[in-house]
């Protein structure tokens, strides 16, 4: 099959996260990353609603409505976990103590602007949650998303048209087609998914791509 599945994307993201990292996973696709922690590494997952050391979903029937993640789904706590209140939780986030945050995206600009919280439509009810705090405070922001929208529009664009979550905050983007870095010079393809050509990625990207470095093509 051409390109990466969501699970393969999650695995690719997990492979880039160093041992011992403190990680916050956004609601939705990013949650898959927790299933692909490499065997020789330990990640500590933080959820902004007050838990460090979040574990996997509990078995059916063992859900506790008072033990949930930021997406309000039932989770578990690992041995060595800690509970804390919201101000302490965002001390971790805003204060730069979380190493990696993996988020979904509606749009990413060539300069690393991220739009992932609102379509900006007049009748939409805006809801931001902790997204703006995460992109402002977490050391490294990874975005995990399909390369294009359901209607085939590029998500990586010259300028975001949706309301921003943060300016110049994205470090790396993992799509079904490629891994791309936001660099000072522009968007750089670091890796192509199996069967995907640089030209295809370029065609489906709304921002100029830097020429692909020899060593990162494989």
């Amino acid at each position: 099959m051409k390109g990466w599945s969501r699970e393969e994307m999650a695995q690719r993201v997990a492979a880039d996260i160093p041992d011992g990292a403190y990680v916050n996973l956004g609601i939705g696709i990013p949650e898959l990353v927790a299933q692909f922690v490499p065997r020789d590494r330990e990640f500590i997952f933080q959820t902004e609603n007050g838990l460090l050391g979040m574990g996997p979903s509990p078995p059916a029937g063992a859900e506790d409505p008072e033990l949930i993640n930021a997406g309000k789904k039932a989770v578990t706590a690992i041995p060595g976990a800690a509970y804390f209140h919201h101000a302490d939780s965002f001390t971790m986030i805003r204060g730069g103590h979380i190493d990696v945050c993996v988020l979904g995206a509606m749009q990413i600009s060539a300069r690393g602007d991220l739009a992932n919280w609102s379509t900006g439509e007049a009748d939409a009810i805006p809801a931001v949650g902790g997204a703006m705090d995460l992109v402002a405070g977490v050391k490294r922001i990874l975005v995990m998303t399909e390369h294009t929208t359901k209607t085939g529009e590029p998500k990586i664009v010259a300028e975001c048209t949706y309301p921003l979550t943060g300016r110049g905050v994205v470090d790396r983007v993992y799509t079904n087609l490629a891994v791309l870095d936001v660099t000072e010079e522009g968007v750089a393809v670091r890796e192509l998914a199996p069967g995907v050509s640089f030209e295809e990625v370029r065609a489906k990207t709304g921002a100029p791509l830097l020429p692909m470095a020899q060593e990162s093509a494989r």
Binding site: T47, E48, N49, G50, L51, D64, P65, E66, L67, I68, K72, A77, Y83, F84, H85, H86, A87, S89, F90, I93, R94, D113, D123, I125, P126, A127, V128, G129, G130, A131, M132, D133, A136, G137, P163, L164, T165, G166, R167
Partner: protein, 236 residues
């Protein structure tokens, strides 16, 4: 002798007046003081400003308070969710105001309100529509926006256990906004699952020291919002 226990939720919220600002704990249903909210619906004050992370679900708890038209304005970070219809509908009709605040900024505004800090600076929301109209300022070359501390007339909070002094412990991720909201209101009203003897809570493990708590209502078996929603319940 200090004893902050109230006999009933109705008595605990009886002096909430029209136009009051109320902080309501909870992240989704976890930590939502549903029995206190229902007592507030029964008491009937209107024109309230409510500070809470979400806007409730179904037609019970916070969503029911909003549905009854008692809330003029919501200050929150995430006003919609899977089963949240009441607020979006009223907001689209222009019948309820929304002040949308990033979650961490909301938490810090509440904490600062409780700590006597009128304003602070944060990088959160810089360069976004949520910073529009706000004062900004550079420190060491980076841009920040000024945010104001937030206080309320009343806080309604759910905790797990209390003693008569008002010392509180919470349960798991139901802690969320509770401890900071306890600090930021003129009058803090807490519902707990059980009262314990003074001294039963390890002083090293007290999460909210009693100085922040004014009234305690015991609700041994609190209702669960998601169950009520699933059953299609409507309050009152």
């Amino acid at each position: 002798m200090i004893d902050k226990r109230c006999e009933a939720a109705a008595a605990a919220v009886a002096d909430v007046r029209d136009g009051a600002t109320i902080m309501i704990g909870g992240f989704g249903e976890a930590g939502s003081p549903i029995e206190l909210i229902h007592a507030l619906i029964d008491a009937g004050p209107r024109n309230l400003t409510v500070v809470s992370n979400n806007t409730g679900s179904g037609r019970v708890g916070l969503a029911a308070l909003i549905a009854r038209g008692q809330v003029r304005k919501m200050i929150c970070s995430y006003p919609r969710s899977a089963n949240s219809m009441v607020f979006p509908e009223l907001h689209r009709r222009g019948e309820i105001e929304l002040e949308l605040v990033p979650q961490g900024t909301l938490a810090e505004r509440i904490r600062c309100g409780g700590a006597g800090i009128p304003a602070f600076y944060t990088a959160t929301a810089v360069g976004t529509v949520l910073a529009e109209g706000k004062e900004s300022r550079r420190f060491e070359g980076s841009e920040y926006v000024m945010e104001r501390g937030l206080r309320a007339d009343f806080s309604l909070v759910k905790a797990d256990r209390a003693d008569r002094y008002g010392n509180l412990v919470y349960r798991r991720t139901a802690r969320n906004f509770g401890p900071i909201m306890c600090t930021a209101a003129e009058t803090t009203i807490v519902q707990v699952r059980e009262m314990t003897e003074v001294g039963a809570i390890d002083p090293e493990c007290v999460v909210t020291p009693g100085v922040f708590v004014d009234r305690i209502v015991v609700v041994p078996e609190p209702q669960q919002e998601s169950v009520l929603v699933k059953e299609g319940r409507v309050y009152p």
